[in-house]
């Protein structure tokens, strides 16, 4: 806790920003001094771990989006363990459960108010899968390509996640036409249903 014995220094900052912070401080019952201290402490702490405040706010937004999308945050190894057990016990049912979760998530975006539901889905999903070093979803001319690489995925988790993605793509009106799955690697290609059904 800061006391009056703390040596103080002044710095020069943009007036509009200081005025705005001053209003915020007033609304929250803080002094400008206290809020500026908190902001600086946070900025320094972030910098120590090589991130910045912008990144922290973005991540906070990811967490909020994940919450709204019905995702939970937990230990990856536990998810894998449970996926393994469930898949070994009841393969079809496990695949169905993940597929349905994918459908549900995609429908949430598709029926929402966002301008481009697929873009919003893609943005969030890429953010939620921070545990996969490589996660790309590309959409072009009625085709969607998904590529995921994570050496940590178990075989069962890889298969189940594929089912989840297929469910989501299906809900967006895309039919999976090719897939390559091996432990820790997923590659999917899906076409808009009308185009996939059309004769070559």
């Amino acid at each position: 806790m800061k006391t009056s014995k703390v040596k103080r220094k002044t710095f020069v900052a943009r007036e509009d920003l200081i005025d705005r912070l001053s209003e915020i401080a007033k609304q929250k019952g803080y002094s400008l001094y206290a809020i500026v201290n908190e902001v600086f402490e946070l900025a320094v702490k972030a910098e120590e771990t090589s991130v910045d405040l912008r990144k922290i706010i973005e991540e906070r937004n990811v967490l909020k989006a994940a919450r709204e999308a019905g995702f939970l945050l937990g230990l990856e190894s536990l998810w894998y363990e449970m996926a393994e057990l469930a898949y070994q016990k009841a393969k079809t049912q496990a695949l169905k459960s993940w597929y349905e979760a994918g459908v549900w998530l995609a429908k949430r975006y598709a029926t929402g108010e966002v301008e481009d539901p697929f873009a919003a889905f893609k943005k969030d999903l890429e953010a939620f899968t921070w545990n996969a070093p490589e996660f790309t979803i590309e959409k072009a001319e009625g085709k969607i390509s998904v590529r995921i690489i994570s050496p940590r995925f178990t075989e069962s988790y890889t298969v189940l996640l594929t089912s989840f993605l297929e469910g989501a793509l299906d809900a967006f009106g895309y039919k999976t036409t090719s897939k390559e799955i091996s432990r820790g690697a997923i590659r999917l290609e899906a076409f808009k249903v009308e185009e996939a059904d059309a004769p070559a």
Binding site: A13, R14, F40
Partner: protein
């Protein structure tokens, strides 16, 4: 033509300003640029409903999640997996959750001055399926209470094991456990 922006003088603790200077040098920026960006982001955060202090707590929790290997999973899928896996290997699964809790607890104890408070923040930030998370210290005793109507019986039991593991690592021993679907009350000493 845009008007040049006015400037104001603001007081901060000397040592904090030195840290800011060091951080700005680390990023290869001038202090004024670093400060301006920090203030801009603070205003932006406020618009999104986040206070700097909350962001700081959140940041620490997220750092912990990343270090410990946190991953997102749909709640429905988690419930399915929990129920299915519990039918098969309940004991084994309980042990895994307990071990995972111990690992989290160890990390929090190392990293935070007040690990029980950090654990509460950790649960609140990551387990938003919990409506209530209470960690109350009464002398040498600590009561942990979590409530969620979304938890299945199996999920409740596994979460209780996780909490026990974490609290044991932080340095407490279980005195009494009350666990029923959607509610966990554990007393530690």
């Amino acid at each position: 033509m845009p008007q040049p922006k006015g400037k104001k003088l603001v007081y901060v603790p000397e040592d904090l300003l030195e840290e800011v200077a060091k951080a700005s040098r680390g990023r290869g920026e001038t202090i004024s640029k670093f400060v301006e960006e920090a203030l801009k982001q603070a205003v932006r955060a406020n618009k999104a409903g986040y206070h700097p202090q909350q962001l700081a707590e959140y940041f620490e929790v997220m750092q912990a999640q990343k270090v410990l290997g946190g991953a997102f999973v749909p709640l429905e899928v988690l419930n399915y997996l929990t129920n299915k896996a519990c039918q098969e290997e309940k004991e084994q699964l309980s042990a895994k959750w307990y071990e995972s809790g111990k690992w989290h607890g160890k990390y929090l104890k190392e990293k935070f001055e007040n690990p029980t408070q950090a654990f509460k923040a950790f649960l609140e930030a990551s387990r938003w399926d919990l409506n209530e998370v209470e960690i109350k210290k009464e002398g040498e005793k600590v009561k942990v209470r979590c409530v969620s109507p979304l938890l299945t019986t199996e999920a409740t039991e596994l979460l209780a094991k996780f909490i026990e593991g974490a609290m044991h690592s932080i340095g407490y021993q279980t005195q009494k456990t009350d666990c029923l679907r959607g509610m966990i009350v554990i007393k530690f000493k």
